[in-house]
Symmetry: C2
Subunit: 408 residues, 2 copies
Amino acid sequence: MDRHLPPAGRWQLAARAQRMQPSALRELLKVAERPDIISFAGGLPSPYALPVERLQASVERILRHDASGALQYGPSEGYLPLREAIASRLTRQGAGISPAQVLVTTGSQQALDLVARVLIDPGSRVLIETPTYLGAVQALAQYEPVFEEVPADAAGLLPERLDEASMRHARLLYTQPNFQNPTGRTLAHERRIALVSKAMRNGLLLVEDDPYGELVYSGATPPSLLSMAPQGVVHLGSFSKVIAPGLRVGYVVAPDELMLKLLQAKQASDLHTTGITQRLAHALLTDGEYDAHLDAIRQRYRAQCALMLECLAQHMPEGVSWTRPSGGMFLWVTLPAHIDSASLFDDALARGVAFIPGASFHAVAPKANTMRLTFTTATPSQIETGIARLAQAIKARLRNTEACLSVS
Amino acid sequence: MDRHLPPAGRWQLAARAQRMQPSALRELLKVAERPDIISFAGGLPSPYALPVERLQASVERILRHDASGALQYGPSEGYLPLREAIASRLTRQGAGISPAQVLVTTGSQQALDLVARVLIDPGSRVLIETPTYLGAVQALAQYEPVFEEVPADAAGLLPERLDEASMRHARLLYTQPNFQNPTGRTLAHERRIALVSKAMRNGLLLVEDDPYGELVYSGATPPSLLSMAPQGVVHLGSFSKVIAPGLRVGYVVAPDELMLKLLQAKQASDLHTTGITQRLAHALLTDGEYDAHLDAIRQRYRAQCALMLECLAQHMPEGVSWTRPSGGMFLWVTLPAHIDSASLFDDALARGVAFIPGASFHAVAPKANTMRLTFTTATPSQIETGIARLAQAIKARLRNTEACLSVS
């Protein structure tokens, strides 16, 4: 008997799989879904923002006029009219993009997976802003990079803190410049210029993830990194926040040489994205009502964001601060340094409100005294009640801490 | 300037991406789609087999009664009622499976990708039958294994040719036991018993890919490998051939310890499979007409398979042989040893007929004198005309070869 043989029923996993850890966040989100809980946890669109009637009408048309196209195998690149519509929208927004540069993906999560697969070897250096989108960390981590966190403040990552030697040896830098998940912050225009110029000088590929860019509530969004350097940026987009996440339709725009490899990885991953949902995204994007639909969502979310900010100002005790997003779905709360938001979670849950502890959003060094709040999902009255409850939980924790300090 | 810096606009790719090659097959399939060509090339269902009306009715119901479920984010494991319906169908077919063992995937292509990602390190040994499904080779090859081909004949792979030392050191063995792509062959019952017993004895994980199992036209299909050894088999299934490929809904059944890792990889890959299409697969699987639908497809394909076999017998010259599938979509033609089917492709195309050269279906050592023919897509009259044209192309090639031989 071979002594290296694993015991019956135990299979030898790939090194990357041995490192995979179950997500604590998943369990936490399940709890937050309980009907008695006001949840600021999940990153979901408002149920009132889903264009159900237009989707019903469109799917009926698609299955009547293009059933075979929607139901048979399709090209791995994606449905051509959708790629054309995406390229044309990006071009109107300032980046001159051709449909050949657009690959449709099964949500932008798949785009992250493909980009990571094509670019990351075990041990490759990856620069990532902090805090950052958890799903990106999960996708990238599968391919076993060494993460290096890029410091950031309320105006996004700090280009001057990027080390040029690190940049030259890194495979990519990952960032969400607009209304970032989890902080809601936006990368300032002058920092975009500095980042792009420093990246291009040092041969660093920028991965610009932009699922929230259309959800702008005040001011103008600075130009995309893609528009500044189309040959040096991989740009990810999604219809999850502006049409519906369940469609699983996103896209990636990449320089030609990378596109070829991304396409091959896409083909090996799932052959192509669902035919029906690609056509639905195309129908909604081009039926002439898309901008009106976006305006309606923006109006709803703008009001909910303003309300949550107002409630925070009204209820939160001294020592608690938060971001003031000009778009997106999230804001980011910083508690006094000694409060661990993970342990606060249970107190908040007992009071009927849920959030996501901020430690989840770091690739390397978690900060325990932070939390992410979603302002899009809950109704206005839930926002009022929920923020009041959350403030009570924080105040109680502060009183306990003071009591402990005075005893000790 | 760092001398290791790549030239501007050239990015350092992961080793796996450097190895990725553009698929010649894709170009060939594009040519085969020309409307003037009778195509036996693509592995597509018949357009007449797509249950368009039932899908129309179901999608209307889903968006009326369960819009939020279908359109919001869903669980990475998949839509629970669909997982229950799959488990219950597999259980009726002899494998006692619980819904917790079923992970819904974006087509079974994604299941292949996830299985490979979780099990294969660069250099890992992978056993694979020959010839084999090209999409499996592409999915597995991304993770840089060393393939070892397992010889096979008309009754499938040959368990007695499996080397026990190889089995002990391999991460997995990949096989399609039913109506295999590309040959149409089925693994004989006694070989299944021998394979499972030898694999279990040597700690080898079997990956059983079964997209065609429901498409049976004569006799009874032997029991699945999964039913013989549920703790030693990863089983892949798909709705692409029995409902519609464009839905991109498949599934993987795996032992618990692997399921946990597959789920994490799935989450990082695309969060979850499209909500609408999972519900469509569930609706069609459980509306009471599924077995009647399968019977109708089987009847159509059985007749088309019989017709193609009849036309081959009628038109093909001596020295050409082919498989006689009892199910599935494909049959496999072997030409005289000196005819390269890749160069025959252009002759056939000039006569208005397309197939896939067999060399594409080998992980290691291609055999050039073979081809795959799909009997499901073309109409009966196209099958008659197409096979006659193909036979003419082969006969012309044989005459040319004889002429050359008599000259030399």
